[in-house]
Symmetry: C2
Subunit: 137 residues, 2 copies
Amino acid sequence: MSYIVPMRRLRLPGGDLEYAVLTRLWELGLASAREIHTHVGEPAGLAYTTTAKVLDRLHVKGLVIRERKGRAFIFRPKVARGIFDQARARTLLSRLLGSRPLTAVATLVEAVESIDPTLLDELERAVAARRRSPDGT
Amino acid sequence: MSYIVPMRRLRLPGGDLEYAVLTRLWELGLASAREIHTHVGEPAGLAYTTTAKVLDRLHVKGLVIRERKGRAFIFRPKVARGIFDQARARTLLSRLLGSRPLTAVATLVEAVESIDPTLLDELERAVAARRRSPDGT
DNA sequence: GACAATGTACGACATACGTCGTAGATGATC
DNA sequence: GATCATCTACGACGTATGTCGTACATTGTC
């Protein structure tokens, strides 16, 4: 790892709460702050304004669109989940691989296994699939 | 993703600069702040005190040991790289897998490929190896 | 022993994010 | 139309981390 780059400022990833909110939005297609809160914030014991604030920040970051509907807003994702997740995965992966990709890959596989052994099959399948279509099938 | 857990406070991961410094320490075995700075901070255009501060924080976090040597300190890692990297990988991976592990695995493989296609081989090998010895060979 | 060089200690500021609380606006209800 | 419920706007605080600068201490050198 060189850390020569002074700190990338990708507006993409974001924190866990933001991602959880965005995820819910992707699943619902469109939703009010209240709905998102009911699904994400509330079960986590968070205040309604916390959810609202997150939605607000996502809006500022241009990750969600919002339209007024009466006194409230209806939010909808502005970025495609696939695109976002891809970028997010690349960012997280880059940090993980660092200067010793080979070793890191082994560690990565171990981690996958420790989280859920059955994912090894999936991993194998995914690699095979990737091999079959190096493009984007 | 449920985000039910209010935010883990693992003292492990840390940021990129901290990880870069720790990595250098693992590589060198033991080193002075000046040495680390020469290897990590300087090439990144950082001030010496920045490197020193990072080392200081790593010390506070109990990730490095330091012994006085004259007016300076000699640092040495306190945690094994393997252990640390494993925990780090698990943390990063957990965030990546989220609520749709299957989809995430595919995205993950794509990301690996986009970063370095040859790593797919490595990934395959690692999975196979993991299969052969589910323990810790 | 005075001085320059080099270290450490530490406070400070910036940003990203999680997390609330309050205030004010707006729509719904009787 | 007065009242109540619900939203949004926004400021604030806490923590983690990157990033410096300054002050103070220590060491090595004439």
